[in-house]
């Protein structure tokens, strides 16, 4: 994926092209611990 953002600065890291991830699950363990897991 090509970086998108303002002017010359990109929103995404250049390695994002190789990071084809999706969110697999999301749990709320306590109000300060909101974790997500991304599988690739």
């Amino acid at each position: 994926m090509v970086g998108v953002g303002m002017e010359n600065e990109t929103l995404f890291d250049e390695l994002d092209d190789k990071f084809d991830a999706r969110i697999a699950y999301y749990t709320v363990q306590n109000p300060t611990d909101k974790e997500g897991k991304m599988g690739v």
Binding site: M6, L15, F19, I23, Y25, T32, G36, K37, M38, V40
Partner: protein
Amino acid sequence: MAPFQIEVFDRLHDPILIGVERRYNGEDWFIIFDVADIMPLHMEMGSVGVSLPYKLQEYVLENIEESWFHEDGNNWMAVRAVNTGYLINRDRVVMRKLLTPLAGSRAHLLSASTYQYLVNKEGSYTVEVGRVKGYGVPARIDISTLHRYHTGIFGYTGTGKSNLTSNLLRKIMDTVDDLVAVVLDITGEYPINIIDMLERYGVIYLDPSTPIDSFRETVVYPETLQQRMAGEGLDPRIVRDILMKIPTKKLYLEDDEVTIESVIGEINSVLRDADKLTLDGRVKLMELVRSLYEMDRRMDLKTFKEKYGDMYQHVLDTLREVANPLNQRSTVRIKLESLIALIEEPPEQVERDYETIRKFARRILYHGEERLYLLYIPEDFLAREYIARLIDEIFLLKKTAGLGRKVLFVVDEAHEFISRETRGARNMDRSNLALEKLFRQGRKYGVGGWIVTQRVAHLNTSIMQQLHTYFVSTLPRTYDRSVVADAFSISKSIIDKVQAYDMGEWLFMSHVATKYKNIPVEVRTDNNEDYVLDWLLSKKA
């Protein structure tokens, strides 16, 4: 499913933010996550167990071994990440919103510039505190907030707490011109760590039992600095020679100055023997005390005589009127006459090589040309008494005599001053109360505090709650980490990352110093020893 990418996998070991696609209110956003940990997985891993015959295990494991570096589509990685509570869109609009991501949504690695956009603040008080781990870009924060809103620095022995503290102190003193700092040191680490600042605008204060000469000989050097100094051919005597030039005074707890307050004290002690006074005398003295209470009670008698002549004369006349009718041998009359003699001939204020807490507080707020005061008090119970008295005096002056300069208190080994465990620790109640006042009320009066400690677990929680910025490095005890996580609402998965930190690496979070609050910033800070060594070398030249 996509092939395992070793390059991405390795990069994910260092701090990086992830944006998870999320449509919200008809617009495209990315929920920002911070990576907590990562695990490589292969589809055949599940079949490997202790009961699988060795030959089969070997066959499977050889397959797996090869797979990491050849994209065979059988492996993947699980990334565990924590929701930061922020959304960002493609135009870099940021919104504070704790939104739940939807399973199947795509996730992206956010760039260094996005990270800087979220963290870095720009303004006249902005300084670089270090480089962000992983991204390698500068972390720029508003350093003035570290004074205005209180800061905590937590890390086990050897993580570089005093190194970071000295480094931050130099940055804040260089940036905030009208700030003065009081560093409370019980270990003797600071004279060398901040020697350049002490030489420029500092004074060292010692408790009366510490001989000035032996203090200069017993300065504690960080081992690494000592080695580097030896490597550069720097004789440790250069430090002693510089310390000789820095004004060094003894600090006494008790006051030796005769002030209006002393007069009030004497009159009150006469009033306690009220049965020896006439009713008229009693009433006159009580009225006198009332009118003296309305004046600046810290004023010395010479100033009182020069500036408030009428009132001064009224005090003398009243005391004489009360004393004269009394029997010449009565103790009350003797007391009153010695008080009259003292007021008639106020003692001259002489410049001494020692100072009392009361004068010291005034010097800090109003009179001092210096900006940095190092208090070296090696006895912990005495240090607690000193800090309590000094903070009380500073607040009293700020409330009654004018705000004066902004003050930053740096309390190293803070567990010795603000522990919840007060049993058996002399003066702990007093230092707790004084520091609680500093951390609760300080912001209104321009007084800030930094607490530096390796033992977080038993700290006074009222004080912990007042910290708006904190730096955390390795804390081996689980309980210490969970206390930090609870006190500052940080995910335990994030705080646990500090276990793998090297010296000089810090997890930094702030409600005020970063552009968006509470974005975790993992930084490698500048090494204070580099600065001190260069400075010493320049002195040698």
